[in-house]
Amino acid sequence: MSEHIVNRIREWRLLRAPMTQAELAHACSVTRQTIIALEAGKYSPSLELAFKLARALGRNLEEVFQYAEKN
């Protein structure tokens, strides 16, 4: 069994319509490619970026990121 971080960035971003990947990237001072990688689950952000993302999405950290176990 292993643990990994899952996120709901795409879900919250689309709920907070209309927020594009480019707008979220600009709000968090990262590239759009980093947002794409985050949403695809191919990159785990630093704690600082995780807080920035949660703030930009208007959510608590744990609403955006969860620490999950997978088999």
Partner: protein
């Protein structure tokens, strides 16, 4: 594919063809054409064209899904490959010469350093032009993390090559080593070591970007 991207491909192919002609055909003629001189001219024209293209259309040369850092990584890889070819040519010339040059002037005589400086200047100019897009983040924490991983791959390659070099040197008889290992050969081996380390770093970085793409 956009017309700008088609032009970029033409310039890339012209750069490679020019580099091959300039590096491997300096004394050869093909159909009455001086391969070395023509290749050098094509190489300089293609590099000039690439600088111009990046100066006026840097946004449109690469696919939209590539970040500025990824674009720089691929450009760096292309330049490192040309530098490696130039270095291989330098070694080829040295191995074929009647006497191995004993001073740094010998390196200048083979024009390797001049070529290296020209390529590094063109590389720096093109890299800076790639990042000219106003208001866009050029490098973020993901880029730095990928670069760190690529640097570690380069460090591993460096360590392995040094260990392999130690094993080779230890297995060569001392009289043969004294005849073969002149200061200028040692200098070339060290240059080759640095180029190999940089090549591994750039390959690892370009592949990491490619793998991380959604």
């Amino acid at each position: 594919m956009r017309s700008v991207q088609r032009l970029a491909w033409v310039l890339l192919l012209a750069t490679l063809a020019g580099a091959l002609g300039a590096l491997f055909g300096p004394s050869g003629r093909w159909g009455g054409v001086d391969l070395g001189g023509t290749g050098a001219a094509v190489l300089m024209l293609a590099l000039g064209g690439a600088v111009w293209l990046f100066a006026v259309r840097s946004d449109q040369v690469f696919p939209e899904h590539m970040s500025v850092s990824e674009r720089r990584a691929w450009v760096g890889l292309a330049f490192i490959v040309v530098i490696l070819a130039s270095f291989a040519r330098q070694l080829w010339v040295l191995s074929g010469s009647a006497s191995i040059p004993e001073s740094i002037h010998g390196l200048f005589a083979h024009q390797f350093i001049q070529r290296l400086i020209t390529l590094i200047i063109a590389w720096s100019v093109i890299s800076s032009l790639i990042g000219r897009r106003a208001g866009e983040v050029e490098t973020d924490e993901r880029d730095l993390r990928l670069r760190h991983r690529a640097d570690r791959a380069g460090d591993w390659a460096f360590t392995l090559i040094v260990i392999a070099g130690i094993c080779v040197l230890a297995s060569i008889p001392a009289p043969l080593l004294a005849w073969w290992l002149s200061p200028i050969v040692l200098a070339n081996l060290l240059i080759g070591l640095l180029i190999a380390k940089t090549l591994v770093e750039h390959v690892a970085l370009a592949l990491a970007y490619r793998a991380g793409r959604a």
